[in-house]
């Protein structure tokens, strides 16, 4: 087929004279394989920078807020939070959905983009997967500790027991247990498995004994053998295939927490796709927030290029617009459905007692990312970073709006109430950023932040044809 086309190019081609396809290299400045190895391993092998220690200690302090908040919560009761009777789920569930959503970009980058052969994913996938794992850990704290008697939370697991009582499989919270634990397991596996060849590199370069043992243990005897690579690539592909449905399923099930309930504003079929789009949106926001500083600090401009930033900005733009469409569609359906409770729920979202949170959400999630239409803005890295922060803020508010406006004013006006968080709520949530940062800093310090083998595979040097076009 190709031969035929080459022999007879369409006549139109003569007239339009298409511009030559400019393929932007994924690694700039024609770097060698050795340079990539030195660069990535250097991050781990060099002396611990002072800024790292400062950040680490600060993050530990912030993380301790979560620890203290949880100790107080468990010892005293859920009452230390601001939850009340109409609003039985306050910040805890908002934070849970927020963190679990962030994880989605990692899975999308590592699994979906892998299956779609998007080569640009290679330099960002490791860090995004790490982000996914840590975000899921942060997310897990909230549903676990928001329950009234956390010491019985294991009842949510289907363990055989003397009472012969099983969990209730009709409850979306029960589905969450399976969805999130599956997600966490697969994400950890995927993340770790991808690291094995890089661990072997670090092991082989290691000078200190502890490094030899540490990386040696995790490299699992990787010898760079042909059959190792064959198994590795097959396993990687399988895990990518396994993770791909998870990108859709996890946030779909999280959205069921709301959509399966019968409350106006929650009970809608749009929630699953809308939540998935929002999750990917927030995830890419977080990837940008994390990787832009990392790129600057470690001088990774040749590996995380403008093309990567451009692509991430475009995905953010696309998913942000999808989310905006979902917001509009919710209003349309509420009107079209002619259910007065539903109609009220949406008017109340935009103009009721939490109107401010709705408009923060719309401006951060729908309006802000529209700036990414402009190349100038995508190329202005500090601005991209600031917008990515707005995306994170907006997505937190989205969950706040969904959870709180509906609960605070549902069916019977006699039971309407107003929810405000307490100091304990705020500190517990704030602390999770510290917890997340602690983990991410440890990751930067001790693990290869990019998959060296995969980055090399997309470099021109890896092409056996030496870049010649065939």
């Amino acid at each position: 087929m190709a031969d035929v086309q080459e022999a007879h190019p369409p006549e139109i081609m003569e007239k339009v004279k298409p511009a030559p396809w400019k393929e932007v290299p994924l690694v700039l400045n024609n770097r060698s394989f050795g340079w990539v190895t030195d660069k990535i391993c250097g991050v781990v092998e060099s002396k611990t920078p002072t800024w790292w220690w400062w950040c680490f200690i600060m993050a530990l302090c912030v993380a301790s807020f979560t620890g203290m908040g949880l100790v107080y919560l468990v010892s005293t009761g859920v009452g230390v939070w601001g939850n009340n009777n109409p609003v039985n789920w306050g910040w805890a569930i908002v934070n849970f959905v927020f963190w679990i959503g962030i994880g989605h970009a990692g899975t999308l980058i590592s699994a979906v983009l892998c299956l779609l052969k998007q080569k640009w994913r290679t330099s960002i996938n490791r860090a995004s997967e790490a982000m996914t794992v840590f975000a899921v850990l942060c997310a897990g704290i909230f549903p676990l500790f928001h329950v009234g008697r956390v010491w019985f939370a294991w009842w949510l697991f289907p363990l055989p027991n003397a009472n012969a009582i099983w969990p209730q499989f009709r409850s979306p919270l029960e589905w969450d247990v399976f969805a999130v634990s599956t997600y966490a397991t697969v994400s950890v596996l995927f993340w770790y498995m991808g690291m094995i060849p890089d661990m072997a590199v670090l092991r082989d370069r290691a000078k200190e004994t502890w490094r030899k043992y540490f990386y040696g243990f995790f490299a699992m005897g990787w010898r760079n053998a042909n059959n190792h690579w064959r198994n590795f690539e097959m396993a990687y592909l399988l895990l990518a295939g396994l993770s791909t449905p998870l990108v859709l399923s996890v946030h779909t099930i999280v959205s069921f927490d709301f959509a399966v309930a019968n409350l106006p504003g929650w009970h809608t079929t749009i929630f699953p796709p809308y939540f998935v789009a929002g999750a990917i949106f927030s995830g890419f926001g977080m990837v940008l927030t994390l990787l832009l500083p990392v790129r600057a600090v470690y001088g990774l401009h040749d590996l995380i290029t403008q093309k990567h930033i451009d692509n991430m900005c475009k995905i953010t733009l696309a998913t942000g617009s999808l989310v905006g469409y979902a917001y509009a569609m919710e209003f349309f359906i509420a009107w079209y459905g002619a259910n007065s409770y539903e109609g009220f729920a949406f008017i109340n979202r935009a103009f009721g007692n939490y109107w401010w949170s709705y408009w923060i959400m719309v401006s951060c999630n729908v309006i802000c990312p529209q700036l990414f239409w402009f190349k100038k803005i995508r190329e202005n890295t500090p601005l991209v970073w600031i917008i990515s922060i707005f995306v994170n803020v907006g997505m937190w508010f989205e969950r706040f709006v969904i959870a709180n406006t509906t609960l605070s004013r549902d069916f019977l006006p006699s039971s309407w109430g107003y929810y405000s968080p307490t100091v304990v709520d705020i500190f517990t949530f704030f602390g999770t950023f510290g917890f997340f940062s602690v983990l991410f800093l440890l990751f930067l310090r001790f693990l290869p932040l990019m998959p060296m083998c995969e980055v090399k595979s997309v470099m021109p040097q890896a092409d056996p044809h030496g870049g010649e076009k065939h």
Partner: protein, 524 residues
């Protein structure tokens, strides 16, 4: 009693000086910082859209304190704008604000007896009010006073009722949605409660009909609350509290929206015409006692991840405290918002030391002695709600069974046959079981009984055309239903309206095309 809300103002723990809306407006214009009239937000400045005007700002009632002077006496009072109060009238209640009182009464309310002149006259004139610039936060259990045109309390005037006795069935979303019971809609109540499967569940449910099941409940419990008869006295709230060991949580927790009453008395105001964001002067009041409805297809049950709230074979929505881990999903999903969560160890700790957790002081043993020994005392972290006084149900069932056994033994010994017990012998006689709220209701508005028995009082009431389910369109099939309210106003009175204000609000909202004053005349 301190925590039992005032039926009209819904205030707990404090009394306030009730002032008329017209006076409030006047005061507000003189002292703009009073905040007496709730600030409308966003679009409702010009009318209908957001109902914040019927709400307290931020969910808390921050009442301005004014000095009320009469003759030589003066007392500082928090102001509360009371719809329906005659212009330039203020109402002070006596009984609170005591100086010699124990822990519970300290700091609650003001003492209005100072204003009395000793002549015994309770209606006095010539009082003056001057704001002090201070504010006092009042713990109000109902932040929103308007029904917002929803068909929650359904009302009609007597002549409307005569022309359409089933007016309640023609209101609400279910009046134009598919029937609640699908093809079983036309069946009798008894058939519905004993044979209709509970929803279109993907799971197989045990067939709890008489013929098919050994464990079939021989009773099917239900309740009616007659809104016509309810006077709003709140005796049910207090009776339930003492019967069911419901903790008193204190003013601070009421302010946070954590009052624990299993039955609450909703009070709605409705006015001839709502003028946008204004508190109306001329209102009608509707009361509605709301407790767990024991829905046959209970939304709380399907969302509990640990099976802590389940249906029993006699139609009770049972709550297994021991199994509850406290996700609170059930309370979120309850459309009636009747579930109550133990945010703290209310029963274990003193109310003022809740936030100290394990280092806080324990309640003294005297409180424990006041508890009903037949009812579990709940710990923190579990959900609770109305049980239809299941302890009373069990007691009566056991007594009936013992009596049936004795009778059977007696007849067996006289006839020489083996003893056998039949279902009819085990049935509790109608009227034997009275729930705590029913027992104290002075107007007999609450009736409880077996709805599978067509001759029980509750069955008869449920076949009354006024009978309706709140939020029936959700297909929750509540076992507690309400009898709609019929008003009989005097046409010669100046405030006469041909239809109750609540009904007009509903019809205005449900059928916005027919607007205007001619509207009240005929809806059907």
């Amino acid at each position: 009693m301190q925590e039992c809300p005032d039926p009209i103002s819904k205030l707990t723990w404090d009394n306030a000086l009730l002032i008329s809306p017209v006076l409030a407006k006047k005061l507000q214009s003189q002292y703009p910082n009073l905040g007496l009239i709730p600030e409308p937000t966003m679009l409702n400045k010009n009318g209908q859209i957001a109902p914040d005007a019927a709400d307290f700002n931020g969910g808390r009632q921050n009442a301005p304190v004014a000095t009320l002077s009469l003759g030589d006496c003066s007392v500082d009072v928090p102001l509360y704008v009371q719809p329906g109060l005659a212009d330039f009238t203020v109402v002070a209640t006596i009984g609170l604000g005591r100086s010699q009182i124990g822990r519970v009464g300290q700091g609650s309310g003001y003492d209005a007896t100072q204003l009395l002149d000793g002549s015994g006259a309770m209606v006095l004139s010539g009082a003056t009010l001057s704001p002090t610039g201070k504010f006092k936060i009042l713990a109000n259990v109902q932040e929103h006073w308007s029904m917002e045109g929803r068909a929650i309390v359904r009302e009609a005037n007597a002549d409307e009722y005569v022309s359409d006795p089933a007016f309640a069935a023609h209101m609400g979303a279910e009046s134009h949605s598919p029937p609640m019971w699908g093809k079983d809609q036309k069946k009798s109540l008894q058939e519905k409660v004993t044979s209709t499967p509970r929803g279109n569940s993907a799971y197989e449910h045990p067939d709890h009909t008489y013929e098919k099941s050994d464990i079939f409940g021989i009773h099917q419990w239900g309740m009616t609350i007659d809104l016509n008869q309810c006077t709003g006295c709140s005796a049910c709230v207090v009776a339930c509290q003492s019967e069911n060991n419901i903790p008193v949580v204190g003013k601070d927790q009421v302010l946070r929206g954590r009052e624990m009453h299993w039955i609450r008395l909703d009070r709605y105001f409705s006015s001839p015409a709502r003028e946008g964001a204004e508190i109306p002067s001329d209102v009608q009041v509707s009361f509605q006692g709301v407790a767990c409805m024991h829905c046959e297809t209970a939304p709380c049950e399907s969302v509990c991840p640990v099976n802590a709230t389940v249906h029993d074979e006699e139609g009770l929505n049972a709550m297994a405290y021991n199994r509850c881990v406290g996700t609170r999903y059930c309370a979120n999903n309850c459309p009636y918002k009747v579930r109550r969560f133990n945010f703290f160890d209310w029963n274990k700790r003193k109310n003022d030391e809740l936030y100290q957790g394990p280092v806080g002081d324990r309640n003294d043993g005297l409180v424990d002695l006041g508890k009903n020994p037949d009812v579990t005392v709940r710990m923190r972290g579990v959900m609770e709600k109305c049980t239809y006084c299941t302890q009373r149900i069990q007691e009566s069932k056991i007594k009936t069974k013992i009596k049936a056994q004795q009778d059977a033994k007696y007849s067996a010994s006289s006839s020489g046959l083996d003893t056998t017990l039949e279902i009819k012998d085990l049935k509790v006689t109608d009227g034997t079981i009275k729930t705590a709220c029913q027992q104290v209701c002075p107007s007999d508005a609450i009736v409880f009984g077996d709805v599978s028995d067509p001759n029980s009082e509750v069955s008869k009431l449920k076949s009354n055309p006024r009978d309706y389910s709140v939020l029936g369109y959700l297909n929750t099939r509540p076992r507690t239903t309400f009898l709609a309210k019929v008003r009989n106003p005097n046409p010669k009175m100046p405030d006469f309206s041909s239809s109750p204000h609540a009904a007009r609000e509903y019809h205005d909202k449900a059928h916005p095309s027919h607007h205007g004053d001619e509207h009240g005349a005929n809806h059907h």
